[in-house]
């Protein structure tokens, strides 16, 4: 119970600070929009249709803007050595992970909320019930991304080049969920039967569960000196 309360306090503190400055969320949202625009204008209209590109673009956008968002997760703990204040408190290290993870998840989903309608607009995605499914997929994907990102963000924050190291460490771990989610999105938008979808959903959910458990277990060792 104490760990849950501490995790909530950490998440609420992060969200309050972000809400107050809005710097990172604006930057990440703008970044997501720019990624979509670059692909729209970089597309060879004669050979590649919007329908073919749309699923991949959505997930590339979410993955890359998550990186921008996750970079700030532990950077704000560097000011005045604030992380030490948490680590010296009578709080389990795992509570720090869960608090940070939840704040990051809300943060990434906020960026997705901005990027999603623009993706529908830019890529002529037909409004259908499948779009609700894609939104659900975005939540499922973000859970895994942020679990991995929270651990790597904590790992790199004490290094001199945290902003450079995080993408290099994180992107390989993003490949499987991006692949699973893009496959599921393609089938959802194509109106394919659910049997074709379940396998990809299970893989995405498995990725989330495995990395949430792994992250919880290894996080204390990551933040301990």
């Amino acid at each position: 119970m104490n760990a849950l309360r501490a995790a909530w306090a950490i998440a609420a503190k992060d969200l309050r600070i972000e809400w107050r400055s809005r710097t990172a969320i604006l930057t990440a949202s703008l970044f997501a929009i720019l990624v979509e625009l670059i692909i729209v204008f970089g597309r060879d209209a004669g050979t590649v249709s919007y329908a073919m590109l749309a699923p991949s673009v959505l997930w590339i956008t979410i993955a890359l803007s998550s990186l921008v968002a996750l970079n700030r997760a532990f950077l704000l703990e560097r000011e005045h050595g604030a992380l030490e204040g948490i680590l010296a408190a009578p709080v389990n290290r795992s509570a720090l992970f869960w608090g940070k993870w939840f704040a990051n998840l809300v943060f990434v989903l906020a960026v997705v909320t901005v990027a999603f309608p623009l993706w529908v607009l830019f890529f002529n995605v037909e409004p259908s019930t499948g779009l609700y499914g894609v939104m659900g997929l975005a939540v499922l994907g973000a859970i895994g991304f942020t679990a991995v990102g929270t651990v790597f963000s904590a790992m790199t924050v004490r290094t001199r080049h945290a902003e450079l190291l995080l993408p290099v460490l994180m992107l390989p771990f993003m490949l499987p969920p991006v692949f699973f989610a893009a496959q599921a999105t393609m089938r959802l938008l194509g109106g394919r039967p659910m049997e074709e979808l379940w396998g990809w959903l299970r893989l995405l959910a498995l990725f989330d569960v495995v990395f949430l458990v792994l992250a919880t277990l290894i996080f204390p060792a990551v933040v301990d000196e």
Partner: protein, 233 residues
């Protein structure tokens, strides 16, 4: 009566460098211990091991009988203050203290926060963002955060660094008040004069080893010769 803090045979290495080579330290309730030594002696490393921030390779740290590394709740027994304020600039002092209270699991947080802000002379700035605070104000807030849960032991890592004379005097007075209230203090410092009057014992570290642990001599001048001899030995 068992000591308040008992660190036993602490060993800590950074690669091939041994920062702590089997350091043991006990602190009784109400004691004020100054940890002195030259740069690289292992003072800060020792304090970080005592606070649970760093895990020793070998050895244990017990506070009130509980291992601070194995049992997170043991860390409720101390407050940690360093030359960093450990606060967030985009929160107000009140919000920073609320966050600290939540981590400590305090139930009567609002009352304690109001009292802490008053003691820190920050009541009139309680609801303005910390961004832009002077170093002295930051350190007063840091001490309010470190003592909010009324710990039995304060661990201080060069808390006077960067403070002007007035701010250092205010901090010293606040620490003396904590001592009067029965709080034990372990203070890492380069300058024993900063907390000399409050100290009950002086521990000298050189090369990751305790080379001297003596009751505080009456006069600081006399101690300087003892200190120089310990460093030379």
């Amino acid at each position: 009566m068992p000591p308040l803090l008992q660190a036993t045979s602490l060993v800590r290495r950074f690669g091939s460098v041994t920062a702590l080579a089997g350091v043991s330290l006990t602190v009784d309730a109400g004691e004020v211990v100054l940890l002195l030594g030259p740069n690289g002696a292992g003072k800060t490393t020792l304090l970080r091991c005592l606070s649970g921030l760093a895990r020793p390779l070998r050895g244990t740290v017990q506070l009130g009988g509980a291992d601070v590394h194995a049992d997170p709740s043991a860390r409720a027994g101390f407050g940690f203050l360093s030359h960093n304020a450990l606060v967030y600039e985009d929160l107000t002092p009140r919000e920073n203290l609320r966050f600290a209270a939540a981590l400590q699991g305090l139930h009567d947080a609002e009352v304690r926060i109001s009292e802490a802000l008053e003691r820190a002379n920050l009541t009139d700035r309680a609801d303005t963002l910390v961004r832009g605070f002077s170093r002295g104000m930051l350190q007063r807030l840091a001490l309010a955060r470190a003592t909010l849960h009324q710990p039995a032991l304060l661990l201080l890592d060069e808390p006077f660094t960067g403070l002007d004379v007035t701010a250092a005097t205010v901090l010293r007075e606040r620490l003396m008040a904590e001592r009067e209230a029965g709080t034990a203090i372990v203070c890492v410092t380069h300058d024993p004069a900063e907390l000399w009057e409050a100290a009950t014992r002086v521990v000298i570290l050189v090369g990751g080893r305790v080379v001297g642990a003596i009751p505080r001599p009456a006069a600081l001048e006399g101690f300087r010769d003892i200190y120089a001899a310990a460093l030379a030995a």
